[in-house]
Amino acid sequence: MKGAVRFVLTRLRGRALLAACVAVFLAGSGAVVLSRALTVDETPRTFFDLGFDPTDPKEDLLQPGHQVTLEEASATVGVGLIRPRHPLASDASLAEVWLGEAGATEVGLRYESGLRAYITTWPAGKDPAAFYEKLASEAGAGRSQTINGFPAWAVSANEHSTGSPPTAVVNLSIGRVEISLHGDFPLETLIAIAETVSIQPVTAGA
């Protein structure tokens, strides 16, 4: 060990030692800056945020709401239940089904992939396509489009405000029913999932 130290010292001459000191100085600085960067959480959540983090799987998917079976949810909102049929989101990978309460007849589906789907109905007289166009224009975020000929609105995760859950969203309306798909996927993946959405009957025992 001493021999190694002596070996280093004999080579640390003049500018070499100066360079070594500068390097160590920078290493010390870097360590402090890095530690601050790792410990100071500047924007963990958006301001003006009234809700919980819907990406947290420990949170109830609908609040207020309660878990039901797919059959019960389907019976509440109508004959068939609009939903995707995709490797990332199908009845086989459905983890939770939720039903909203007290006038909010909303259905929530949570899949094993992390994808969340919220199903609601439009107020009478409202034009989904016109709303999506207006939304994209006013908010300057997302785009109005059609998916399988149905009106839709899609927004990528990086268009959300700072601190919001970085989640891509696709809203798709089939008739008076709207499904809103939320997932930590690239927008293209979410659109591919939306392309598989249809009104499907619920099989017994689902």
Binding site: V5, P44, F47
Partner: protein
């Protein structure tokens, strides 16, 4: 100077000393620089108190025959917010009204300077939109009525302060939800988060106003402030015990 000590007796210790001193000096210098930089915008924590009534509604009001929401003008370093609103059950879309101060421009709304500004805000599936509103004139503190509602359930939420229409947001198929009373600050201890709501109401299915009841606290992430007034329609968020 560095070269002078090299190559003499005992130079090993000196070199080690120099290297150690460089390491310490680097750490100290960068700590001072980082601390100075953060002194101007050290707003590390998001603190929030939120409460909700026991029943959903088409809108939230604070005021009516009661005084309303306290509006203050205090010295703010980071951000403070006092607001009410209605949020959908998936917590992805909401309508919010109240007032805020944001001298550093940390929020989605225009920065403030001196006086508080009216907050007219909405989020639709995570995408925010803030309507630019005027500052609130004194004297302070004062109590104002605030309303946000979608009385006819067409998805268009309308915002009012002291009876004056401020604007609206179209929130699509969102027509009813859970009420909120909310106070926030983004500062460790300096900024005030005091909030007072006198006369919280929800709009019922007959488009009438009903007092909040069975009110519960959803969250309190601030160690200093406490929510007082549960389970009624007058709430106070204050330092110390209730």
């Amino acid at each position: 100077m560095v070269a002078i000590v090299v190559g003499k007796e005992g130079s090993g210790r000196r070199v080690v000393f120099l290297l150690a001193a460089s390491l310490i000096l680097g750490a100290v210098t960068s700590t001072l620089l980082v601390s100075t930089a953060h002194a101007n915008h050290d707003c590390p924590s998001d603190n929030q108190i939120r409460a909700k009534p026991g029943t959903n509604g088409r809108g939230t009001r604070v005021g009516g025959s009661d005084p309303g929401m306290r509006v203050s003008n205090t010295d703010i370093d980071c951000v403070r917010v006092s607001s009410i609103g209605v949020i959908n059950s998936s917590s992805t879309t909401f309508a919010e009204i109240g007032w805020y101060e944001d001298p550093m421009g940390l929020s989605d709304c225009p920065a403030t300077s001196g006086q508080p500004r009216i907050l007219v805000y909405r989020k639709f599936n995570g995408v925010p939109m803030c309507q630019t509103q005027p500052v609130i004139s004194g004297p302070f503190p004062r109590n104002d009525e605030f309303i946000v509602n979608d009385s006819d359930q067409n998805g268009v939420w309308r915002y009012f302060r002291n009876g004056s229409f401020l604007g609206s947001f179209d929130l699509g198929s969102f027509i009813t939800g859970e009420g909120r009373a909310n106070s926030e600050r983004k500062s460790g201890h300096h900024d005030s988060m005091y909030a007072l709501f006198l006369g919280l109401d929800r709009m019922n299915s007959s488009q009438g106003w009903t007092n909040w009841a069975n009110t519960t606290q959803l969250e309190n992430s601030d160690a200093e402030y406490h929510l007082c007034g549960l389970p009624g329609d007058d709430l106070e968020m204050k330092i110390g015990t209730c």
